[in-house]
């Protein structure tokens, strides 16, 4: 940091990178406006900002874990499982000869609690293997991804549960904020991101996260309870996936076992686009948010240009790769 230097030189590296990626976003948006008809319309812009709300919620947990150097690829399966459990718990008990229409007959509140418990349970399994048994997180979370999605498939017999649900089930996912075209889920997303940002910036818990990512031995020797901290982060990631799962199940009024396929990859992509680095305790949820909008702009523009959905994979790969290179280049230049 240079005393009396320019505005940008006083920023932390994270803020610099978030700003850099915001700049990239504006460039991409401008390019998209040129090539895609009606891209600049306010209605479209609002869509761009809000239609990835579920990936952003997942991205919060993934970002914190990525900062400490760990992965969580189980969030997609967790979302599916939570939605399915919530639906199953709400379905009227024993009223139908069709297995898929029978549930536990619980009130909605109890169903939501049960679903969140399941979500936290997945996080707990992750934490056990990663923190206690020291197994690499990529392997464990791929396993729990299969376990949770597999469990969702078992409960729905490979399909979905969408019958004999109480009316209250569809409320939270389909209510609009008064006077706006935004759903309640978007508000929840904004609140969670703001809370996460406050957490990472201003709280001891947040700073410990970065310390663990930067040098876990130093953190341990400084008295940070690393194991407890990592466990908490995995539980948090699980709970966030649960929240997203309940909201999505409510929006579609169904518990679908194939929901959220690939969301864990999207969450990782937006974190990487936002400048979160796997090595060195670096990155910010604001960056992740910017990354999500970038992804939104790219995929919307691709759809607008009438590219087939098959382009999504290639685009995501190329964009992530370019972002990693660009970020490395920008940071290297900054250090001079």
């Amino acid at each position: 940091m240079v005393p009396g230097g320019s505005f940008t030189s006083k920023l932390s590296n994270e803020s610099f990178l978030s700003l850099f990626m915001a700049g990239v976003l504006l460039l991409l948006f401008a390019a998209a406006c040129v090539f895609v008809p009606n891209f600049y319309l306010p209605r479209n812009v609002i869509n761009l900002l809000t239609n990835y709300w579920y990936v952003i919620i997942l991205g919060i947990g993934v970002t914190f874990l990525l900062v400490t150097g760990h992965f969580d690829m189980s969030v997609g399966g967790n979302v599916a499982l939570t939605g399915v459990v919530c639906a199953w718990a709400c379905q009227a008990a024993g009223t139908s000869p069709n297995e898929l229409a029978n549930g536990l007959g619980l009130p909605y509140g109890a169903a939501v609690t049960l679903a969140l418990l399941c979500a936290t349970g997945v996080g707990a399994v992750n934490a056990f293997f990663i923190v206690r048994l020291r197994v690499p997180s990529i392997i464990v979370t791929l396993g729990t991804m299969m376990l949770s999605r597999g469990l969702a498939q078992v409960i729905t017999r490979g399909a979905q549960r969408n019958t004999s649900l109480p009316d209250v089930f569809g409320v939270v996912g389909n209510t609009f904020l008064p006077g706006t075209p935004l759903k309640v889920a978007v508000l929840i997303m904004v609140v969670l991101v703001a809370a996460a940002f406050a957490l990472e910036r201003s709280t001891v818990v947040g700073r410990y996260t970065y310390l663990i990512g930067a040098n876990v031995e130093a953190a341990r020797l400084s008295g940070v309870k690393v194991n407890r901290h990592l466990t908490a982060l995995y539980l948090l990631s699980g709970v966030l996936a649960g929240v997203a799962g309940i909201l999505l199940a409510s929006e579609f009024k169904a518990g679908v076992s194939s929901r959220a396929t690939g969301y864990e990859f999207d969450a990782l992509v937006i974190a990487l686009l936002g400048g979160v680095s796997i090595s060195g305790g670096f990155g910010s949820v604001l960056g992740m948010f910017v990354g999500a909008i970038i992804l939104s702009v790219v995929t919307s523009a691709a759809t607008g240009l009438l590219l087939s959905p098959d382009w999504q994979f290639t685009l995501k790969g190329v964009v992530t790769f370019l972002a990693i290179l660009a970020q490395r280049f920008a940071l290297d230049r900054r250090k001079g």
């Binding site: 197994v135 690499p136 299969m146 376990l147 597999g150 490979g158 090595s279």
Partner: protein, 344 residues
Amino acid sequence: MTSAIELSTDAHREEALRATVKNLYIYVVLLLIVVGFSVARVGEVEMFGPGHFLSPDSVVNMLRTAAPILTLSSAFTLLMIAGYIDLSVGSAMSLTAVVFALLIREGATFAVAFGSAAVLGMALGALNGLLVMRLRITPVIATLVTLSLYKGTALLIVPGGVSAIKSRPGRPMPAWINDYARADVLLGLPWAFYVALLVILALVVVQRRTLVGRYAAAIGGNRTAAELSGIDPVRWVWGLYVLVGLCAALAGAARASYMSLGDPLSGDGMELDCIIAVLLGGTAFAGGEGSVGKTVVGALIIVCVTTGLMTVIPAFWQTFAKGSVLIGAVALNHLLTRDRPRLL
């Protein structure tokens, strides 16, 4: 006076017992699984008769479908011994399968299609190596990026409206595409199986007796020490990535031949199967030690379990079962290897 570092004979015996268990457990597990599935439907199906797990038809079928995982997991082991991972192998397999099928359908000979697929596989592996070793991007992230790149390319090659490269009006897929992976060459088993067998044997020898294997273990054990000893990790690990890519191509060609089509999603989940096989085989996560032979046994376990389970549980239990096998393999691996915490 006895030295403080001398172990008592009891401790020696315990160490020896531990080592024996560690070496043999996987064979025991395989045996138990085979026996288990053999007797699972003992009332309904005659032992070794038609429909039985160990009937000649069933065994031949299992070995034929196992060719891809056997080839791929052997090369994957070497890479993991060196401490690196490749999550894009499934997509590389799909992409090479698609290209192989496409070339054959458009009139290429088997040699041309096979050769092209092999070269493509090596190129895909080389790209991985470039990202990981030259650009120094974390292996997980680099190979996740290439996973989506290769998968996307495979999906884009297949024209919209069809699910795979297969016979289309005016351009039928030649029937002989099946020969590589299905036609009986010896004992009912096809060329694809014997190629896989050859690859396995070659890689077992490589891992145990050659410099490549030793260097991989050195790099995985302590990369800095290896570097200071004159081993260039960039060159050797890059080569291992190319090898993995080549084996992915062999697997892709085998799969395309078996199914008579190029499915851009055929390799999905292969990387998970490879990881499970390697874990079952006792290779440590952080690298430095491991055995291709034991990974092969692990791969056989996976094949037996997936084939056997299909006869016993409904289809929608499959994912949960696979996940349980992976988590079980992880726990087992933890119990039997010295675990060094390291970021993969």
